[in-house]
Every structure is written in C-alpha cells, then in structure tokens.
C-alpha cells in the first residue's frame, strides 16, 4: 500500500472518534496486590531523587548564601553577571521565537502535505537531538570561522559570527531546534485534514483556517513546546561554550559565567549565579505544570 493511502487511512481512523482519541486519559494505575513492593519502589525512587536532584539543589542554595546575604547580592548584581544574564535572555528569546515559527511551519508541512522525502526531512529536524552540542559548536566554527567555508565571505562583509553574540544565538537555536516541532507534529498529524478541507470548501482563506481551526487545536502543545525550548535554551552549555570564546561581558552566557567563576575558585559567586538559573528553572517548571494541568 502506498504511503499516501496508509496515511489517509490512519487519519480517518484517528479522527473517527473525535476528540477522545487525541487527548487520551491516563487511567490511574491499578493497586498492586503486594504493598511491600509498592513501598519499596517508592522508597528507592524518593532516595534516588533526593540524592540526584534535591540534595544538589540544596547545596546550590546553601553555598550561594554561605558568605552571607551581602556577598550573594554582590555576586548576583556584579556587572558581568548581569551582562551574562542579559545575553542568556537574548539568546533564549531569539531561539524560542525562531524555533516556534520554524516548528509551526515544519510541523504543518509534514503533517498536512505528502511529498517525496517527507520522512527524510522529519529525521533531519531531529539531528540536534542526536548530535553532541560540542560537535554542533565546532560545526559552526568550521562553517563561519576564519578558517571556515564561509570565513572569507563573512570577513569581506565585516560580519562576525564566531566568538561573537550571533554565534551564541545561532548555537542556541541549533540545539533547541526540534522542541516545538516535536510537540506539534503528533498533534497535527492526529487531527487529519478534514476540518481544514471543510473550512477551505466554505471559502475560508489560509490564515482564517489556521486561526480558527488549526491553532485552537495546537495551542497547548505549542505552549508546552515553547516552555521546553526555553528551558533547554537557557541551560545550554556545550555548543555555546565552543563558539563563544568566553569573552567576559561580551559573549558569556550564564552557564559559561558559572564555569569561569568556579574555575577561579570563586565558589560562592559561582553558586550565587547558579541560583539565578535554578530560580529560572523552577519558574519554568511551574509554568510547565500549569500548562499540563490546563490541558486536562
């Protein structure tokens, strides 16, 4: 059977019973007949979470405040820290904006149109998931750096990418590339094309169809993808580390700044700056849970 027909049958199946097939309700797990196992598993999980997650977080906070509130404030309000925070926010906002637009377009394309090479394109989008971020950074250096393929061209036009802010932003975009797409694609795929075709037959234009039919369907998945993308973009270290050149106050992001402070044996400051990232992470976690809760 051809790909097209298979897809069409799949679409029909899924859209058959309407909304329920897409938002499957997770049933509460059935009570095990052996409570010993249950409590043992709970114990192991809690212990593991404590050692791996909770304890390190506590260490961050304790160490950050280890030399008192004044020292903490000084580290957090330090000129370079603030600049690093600004750069992290710039890179994050840009990466999220670019990847959201790209994610919507690509997910729409791959779920609603059938063409040769569709599968290949879908796999290509996933490359950043499977490639080490350090390699990604190196790839950018080899492409845009002085010795790189586009080096001469960029030099001639006085464009600096490597060891400059554009490089940091590019690396962040690369690493967070698939998040929005990955969240949207299954949702759009399950929706099928019928509703959009119905709207088009009534004379609705592309934008109206997107606004009134497609968007209401994907909005929670989109928000979820944006949140995941934000979290990943803010914490990115590997790719950015390679391409930034660690220029303090210029190309340092927060994670890079933490590393520099730590390597200078400035432990309190390193942990203080880390606590900013922890705070941002907690905020994202709360947002994520709110979205999940709203989705239900």
């Amino acid at each position: 059977m051809s790909e097209k027909k298979k897809q069409r049958m799949y679409n029909q199946d899924v859209s058959g019973d309407g909304i329920h097939s897409i938002q499957k309700v997770i049933e509460p797990p059935r009570e095990s007949s052996r409570p010993v196992i249950k409590y043992m598993l709970i114990g192991v999980s809690v212990l593991f979470l404590f050692v791996m997650l909770i304890l390190p977080l506590i260490v961050v906070v304790v160490n950050a405040l280890g030399d008192g509130w004044a020292a903490y404030q000084e580290a957090v309000l330090d000129e370079y820290t603030v600049k690093a925070l600004m750069l992290t926010l710039l890179a994050t906002v840009t990466a999220v904006a670019v990847n959201t637009i790209f994610g919507i377009f690509s997910a729409y394309l791959l779920s609603k149109f059938y063409f040769r090479g569709r599968q290949v394109l879908a796999s290509l989008i996933d490359i950043p998931f499977s490639i080490s971020p350090v390699i990604a950074g190196l790839v950018f250096i080899l492409t845009f750096g002085n010795i790189g393929w586009m080096g001469d061209f960029l030099k001639a036009h006085d464009i600096k990418i490597v060891f400059a802010v554009p490089g940091v932003v590019l690396a962040t975009i690369f690493v967070t590339f698939p998040f929005v797409f990955r969240e949207l694609f299954p949702v759009l795929n399950a929706q099928g094309k019928d509703e959009e075709e119905a709207a088009a037959l009534m004379g609705a234009g592309g934008f109206t169809i997107f606004r009134r039919i497609t968007f209401p369907h994907i909005k929670w998945a989109l928000l979820y993808g944006v949140i995941l993308c934000t979290a990943r973009a803010m914490g990115e270290f590997g790719a950015v580390s390679v391409i930034s050149g660690h220029l303090r106050g210029k190309t340092n992001t927060l994670p890079l700044h933490v590393e520099i402070l730590y390597n200078e044996f400035n432990t309190t400051a390193a942990f203080a700056v880390s606590s900013i990232l922890v705070l941002l992470a907690v905020l994202i976690l709360i947002a994520r849970n709110l979205v999940e809760w709203k989705k239900k």
Partner: protein, 259 residues
C-alpha cells in the same frame, strides 16, 4: 450561482472522460456520467472502486489528470472548490471541534462576510430544520453520532449550495439509527430541493435512498440507472453479482422475521 431555467434533460453535474491516478493506482478510468438538477444520486461500489475520488474531484479537493468536470454547464476544473457552489458532508463529518454547533453552522456564512443578523437568523432556521434548536451551544464531542451528522448536514447547507456532496454519510453511525437517518436525510434533501450526490458501499442504502444509482468498480462506471433498472436489468456480471448479494441479504432478513 446564477439560476437558469433549463429543460429537464439538462445535466447539472457532468463528468467527461475523467482519468485519475494516485501513485500508480488507477482511481478513475474514463469516468463519464451526468446528473440532472434536483436529482439525488448514489455512487455505489466496493471500497477502492474510486467512488470517493469522484466525489472529491467534483468538490475540487482532488484534481483529475484529464477530462472535464462541468457544473451547471460550465467547466470547473480550474475553479477552486469554494467557488463551485457546493456543500460537502465528510465521512467523519469533520465538524470543527473547538466551535459550538451554532458556530459550526455559521462558519461558512461568516467567511462570506454576511451580516450578523442574517447569520443569526439562518443558523436558527437550520437548527430548526435539523430539530436541534436547544443544542446550538453544545460542542461536537457532546453530541451523538446521529446529531453530529445532522449538524454536518446543516453546516453544508448554510451557504445555500446548489449541489450537496456526501461522503459515506451513514458509515459512522450504528446500524440501529442508520435506517432512521436515511429516511430523514432523504426527506430533508427533498424539502430543501438541492441536487445531491452521496457515496456508499451499501447496496441497500443506495437502492432505498437514491433516484439514480451509479455503480463503480475498479475506477470505472459499470452501470447507471434508477434503482429498479439496476435491480431488474444488471448490464454486467459485476453488477449482477453485487445486486444478487442484496437480494440474498433481503431474503434472509425476511426469513429471519417470519421464523
């Protein structure tokens, strides 16, 4: 679309030598037929016989590789579906799941930028037609299969199409309600007086509901005629076999009742 007073023999929809392939699969092979204004026609055939493709091509959702599609004596091959004056009922109804019943029905009118008052009165009129006056604020997932079908029907009729196309309108409904809905749909179409074509794989359904039956098989039109014609004088072996099965089923049903 402009109304024309035409003789009874003029075709409202005409397919002329339509060819269509999907990835090497011959979906339509020299399909030609005509349907008169006001007629209720059935495209009948087993699955994979190309009947849905024909319907989608009339609607402009698929394009034929060659051949002409005429609606109201004008060639519409290049005309987008939204300009062909048609209403389409999808197999799974394709109701807009994030809109209420009333908003679903109003959608086509809103797109045409009709006035608020006009839209409101038309939606009320249609809700009354499908006997769902009190359910306008419901969402599609809160409706039964039969109700969804009625909404899909009303939504397709809202912009006053000259031609109504229905893809397997009864397939997604359980057998008990199906017979009831068939009669209902037949009555509605007669009351509205719109030329209609529906696709079905159920012989009995086609024979009971349609004025004109077009039997398709392997992308070709095997025979077209009134239900009586097709029952009494099947022209090909395929049609004879197809209809025989129905008779057999009917016979069995009668026997089942009397015993």
């Amino acid at each position: 679309m402009e109304e024309k007073v035409i003789g009874e023999t003029t075709m409202y929809v005409e397919m002329r030598h339509i060819m269509k392939t999907f990835d090497g699969f011959q979906a339509s092979n020299d399909v030609s037929f005509g349907i008169e204004r006001g007629c209720l026609a059935a495209l009948l055939g087993p699955s994979g016989s190309g009947k849905t493709t024909i319907l989608r091509m009339i609607a402009g959702l698929d394009r034929p590789d060659s051949g002409d599609i005429l609606i109201n004596e004008a060639r519409v091959n290049e005309l987008p579906g939204s300009k062909r004056g048609i209403g389409f009922v999808f197999q799974n109804y394709a109701l807009f799941r994030y809109m209420t019943v009333a908003d679903n029905i109003a959608f086509g009118l809103e797109v045409q930028k009709k006035s608020k008052a006009e839209i409101k009165s038309r939606v009320e009129e249609l809700l009354e037609l499908i006997s769902m006056q009190d359910l306008g604020k419901r969402y599609p997932h809160q409706l039964s299969g039969g109700q969804r079908q009625r909404v899909a029907f009303a939504r397709a009729l809202a912009p006053n199409p000259q031609l109504l196309l229905l893809d397997e309108p009864f397939a997604a409904i359980d057998a008990k309600v199906r017979r009831e809905l068939r009669t209902w749909l037949r009555e509605m179409i007669e009351r509205v007086g719109v030329t209609s074509i529906f696709v079905t794989h159920d012989q009995e359904e086609a024979m009971e509901v349609a004025d004109l039956v077009i039997v398709t098989n392997q992308g070709r039109v095997e025979q077209m005629g009134t239900p009586d014609d097709i029952c009494m004088h099947p022209e090909t072996e395929f049609v004879a076999e197809f209809i025989d099965t129905v008779r057999f089923e009917a016979l069995r049903a009668v026997k089942g009742k009397t015993q």
